[in-house]
Amino acid sequence: MASTREIQSRMKSIKDTMKITNAMYMISSTKLRKARKSLEETETYFYTLQTMMSRILRHLPELENEYFDIRKDKAPDERVRGIVVVTADKGLAGAYNHNVLKLAEQQMAGCARYKLFVVGELGRQYFAAKGVNISKHFNYTAQNPSLHRARVISETILERFKRGDLDEVYLIYTDMVSSISTEAKLLKLLPMKREEYVQKTGVFSDEIVMNPSPQAVLKNIIPDTVMGYVYGALVESFCSEQNARMMAMEAANKNATAMIHDLSIEYNRVRQALITQEITEVVAGAKAQKKKKQARKGALNLE
């Protein structure tokens, strides 16, 4: 059994850690509130953007567009897959980062040539440690997702796609399914697929005129749509990250409380055992003395 001092110092260290986890819980809960607000604000825009996109594409005449180019002439092993991975800047968020990285590894294993675009410090360090070449690292974009950052990311991707450096682009991010569950998701950004947008509703509606021309409209909308997806993914990921960290910290707090509870019971037992032992020793000593005295008295009486 450990000594009382050992147990006490253990309890103190747990309490100190608990202070940190408590603070982190508080910080991420306020950040989550902020992120939720921005998520709500942007939801209308992206929801409308997606429905509009599907509606426009449904009415679109067959046309050649560089964003729809599926690169038929390239062999499967020659295709370069661009993977945008959104991770956090810090760990301590439960399985949040691992889920994203696992999905990214799966994607990387599934194709011959790939290029990685990593958002977030943790992902960068992870891939750097594994010796995987990262094409571009968007510094600290995981914190405070902004439109500007989303624009920089989407511009980079679109530029490389148009140049032919990338043949397909996937986005890996964490989706906030509900306020308690999150899920790592894979989203295909480019090339855009007509079928994905065309829903077979069977509703007939009149031809929509594109002004000035369908090409010009698409050229205007598609970069925005891609940016929209990237921004949405950044916001969702940030939200999920804070949520994951909050839950991880809550679990840590709970575990710490349980540990302190167990340790305090053990501490009391040890203390009690010590006292009992001391009393026994004192009593035994006193008894021995008494016996000795009595024995001496008996001997005197006998004389």
Partner: protein, 138 residues
């Protein structure tokens, strides 16, 4: 005057949602005015100022908008832009600083992609400055 449903949605907020009688948008090849019962159409728009009159009051409401598009279907108009601001909300100092920054970036040697980004931010800054200036005179 006939009215139509207008919804102006920016990426961070719903700027306007209600009835409208006239709407002028900055299309790629100049300004376009949309009245009630317009033909179904999609119009691509660039950075510029958009103005509309709501049905009850005749005064024009101006908004500085970013790149986006206008979707017209069944007398309902949806304007989807990345940013939308009222001229009085624009911080002129910040806009000027953004313009200077963008101009400086344009002067530096950079990739095509960086050039696109800085040119877009320059265009945004200039539109914002223009509208903010107009607002001040009034």
């Amino acid at each position: 005057m006939n009215t139509f449903g207008l919804k102006i949605i920016a990426s961070d907020k719903v700027f306007y949602n209600g009835r409208c009688s006239r709407l002028v948008v900055p299309a790629l090849d100049g300004e376009k005015e949309i009245l009630a019962h317009h033909q179904d159409m999609v119009i691509a728009t660039k950075e510029g100022s958009l103005k509309f009159t709501s049905s009850d009051e005749e005064a024009w409401v101006t908004a500085v908008v970013g790149i986006g598009f206008v979707h017209i279907a069944n007398n309902r108009v949806t304007v989807l832009v990345d940013t939308a601001e009222r001229p009085e909300d624009i911080d002129e100092v910040r806009a000027r600083a953004a313009m200077e920054r963008a101009k400086e970036q344009m002067r530096q040697e950079q990739s095509i992609q960086e050039y696109h980004v800085s040119r877009a931010s320059l265009a945004r800054a200039m539109v914002r400055l223009k509208e903010a200036g107009k607002h001040e005179i009034k």
